[in-house]
Symmetry: C2
Subunit: 363 residues, 2 copies
Amino acid sequence: MDLTITEKGQLKVAAPGSEAVVLHPIWLRERLPDAAVLDARTGQRLEESAETPTDLRVTAAELDGTISFSDGFATLLPSDWLTRAIVAEPASGNRVHWDGTLDPALFPAADLAAMKDDPAVLGRFLDGVETHGFGVVRGVPLDLDGGLEFAGLIGPIRRTNWGGVADVKAIPNAYDLTMTPRHLEPHSDNPYREPVPGYILLHCLTNDADGGDSTLVDGFHAAAILRRDDPEAFEALVTTDVTFRYHDETAFLENHGPLIECNAGGDVVQIRYSNRTEMIDRLPVEKLERYYEARAAFWKLIAPTSPLTLQFRLQPGELLMMDNYRLLHGRTGYTLAVGSRHMRQCYLDRDFVGSRRRLLAPA
Amino acid sequence: MDLTITEKGQLKVAAPGSEAVVLHPIWLRERLPDAAVLDARTGQRLEESAETPTDLRVTAAELDGTISFSDGFATLLPSDWLTRAIVAEPASGNRVHWDGTLDPALFPAADLAAMKDDPAVLGRFLDGVETHGFGVVRGVPLDLDGGLEFAGLIGPIRRTNWGGVADVKAIPNAYDLTMTPRHLEPHSDNPYREPVPGYILLHCLTNDADGGDSTLVDGFHAAAILRRDDPEAFEALVTTDVTFRYHDETAFLENHGPLIECNAGGDVVQIRYSNRTEMIDRLPVEKLERYYEARAAFWKLIAPTSPLTLQFRLQPGELLMMDNYRLLHGRTGYTLAVGSRHMRQCYLDRDFVGSRRRLLAPA
């Protein structure tokens, strides 16, 4: 690697076979592995870097030698650290978009017992959930709280006004359509919560009624298609804040967000779709016109008849883990003339899932 | 109110003394209180409205009579419902921005016993937390978990990798600067978590060391000033996604977001500021130049020396509730030559706080 200092005091690094990268002096000053700046144990920064003069300059730099700054700070510039630093960090990991033709043999899947025995198996499963947005756990006990044996490998479940683990089965006087045998259109869960639940664990106890297949849509794939084929519709959904609301005697939950949310870099980071609880404000009528057209265009991509819809049947003892920021899920209707359908579900925060996955990732 | 139907089949409502409002046919179709469309108990929508034709028209409308649509749907158009519908919904409630001169007599505050006795007192306190971003609970038991008596009035606390209620006091070999007697610069808590903790409950057990005052800054106020005085800096902070990271032996937490986050309507909805855990990616150097300049400008507004900083001293038996999406908090340094400083803290999700506040709001 060749080092030069630019006119502005920035560090230019030229590595053979790749474009030169210019590093900002403050970025270097903040990130170099110096024990006086970054706590060696937790990586926490020990000085208020907003107080670093913004006209800071690199004054001298030698590979595996000393790098010096105009404020008098100097530290080691390790070549292995610098090699990693000039690699661009990927924005979205290794996500794989899929559609309704995804082969069940390619579903990320693992046995609960194997994950308990070997954390590396759990790590690979969580990687699969990251790339595909879902995964199937097999060999989950058929107890009411059997799903907690898997959740416990990751972290505490999210508690909501409905408690921890909740039934998904047809009951009389259901407070939610989930608790009827009705088909469920593709949706993301509870966008009216703040925060929106991160991951859904759906644990199958019985499933031999007539109907009741699971349906999944890769919302990031649908959003990418909309962005390509109908950029105006995409833009309308990204820039319209929608209110979602749930209100009964004991809970009054409300949150806001676009159907397709992008981060500041323009990457899609969250899908919200919950027709049942979408209560858009009375926006100016021209904005609503664009919104409703765009929503209809997105709906075509995620509707049960869309080629993006994956349909399959959960078996007793299986648990479906779904990324609720990426997937739309639903089910076909069922009748209870014969058999029964009993699922249990709970939520995990993104926190614990991401932390476990990163800790188990091969170095 | 005068009703007319426009060329596009939209409903124009003219009320005396205010501008006419045009209502979109789909908005009306989705929101009118018809038991076949909206579940009377939970308000959940019972039909997939993305399938409503986007060229839907209102064909006839009579106040307190029938409104009819081009798809054959017809329902009652109640005048009281329509009156509420044409009022614009406020974007940000009744927030009051404040600075370092805020009179302690005006702090939202309430006694724990009074809130237990009378939900209306709790409701007014939560309203105060919504308008000011913080509030002080008095008369909290001096037990280690005394804060849970207040939290329990709202909902279950958030569990993190550090458990539920955690100590804030100086200890040897602290894993976090919080656990040292060092001063703490203004920051928001744990932007590396996903979701970021919504509300912080900081319960004071003892506080008679030399120093250790609490500091608060209204981040929404600081953001509004930056937006007015330095719009380029504001824009740079809103449009730069920052990585926050915490990594030790048992947790590897990471999340991303701008220092100032706006919703699709341009309202500021969240402040992230955590110098200790901010690990911005190696963005293009020109973008980093703008970012560091902007961060320094924002820092000037929230720094301990800024007139925006409110400083006061928590007393034993008091609990400070802080909106972690709005406030920056910190403390002055302290010495343990005499006395001690022992706080306990935990988090509440925004969910439960908002739900309780809305349920207790006067109708």
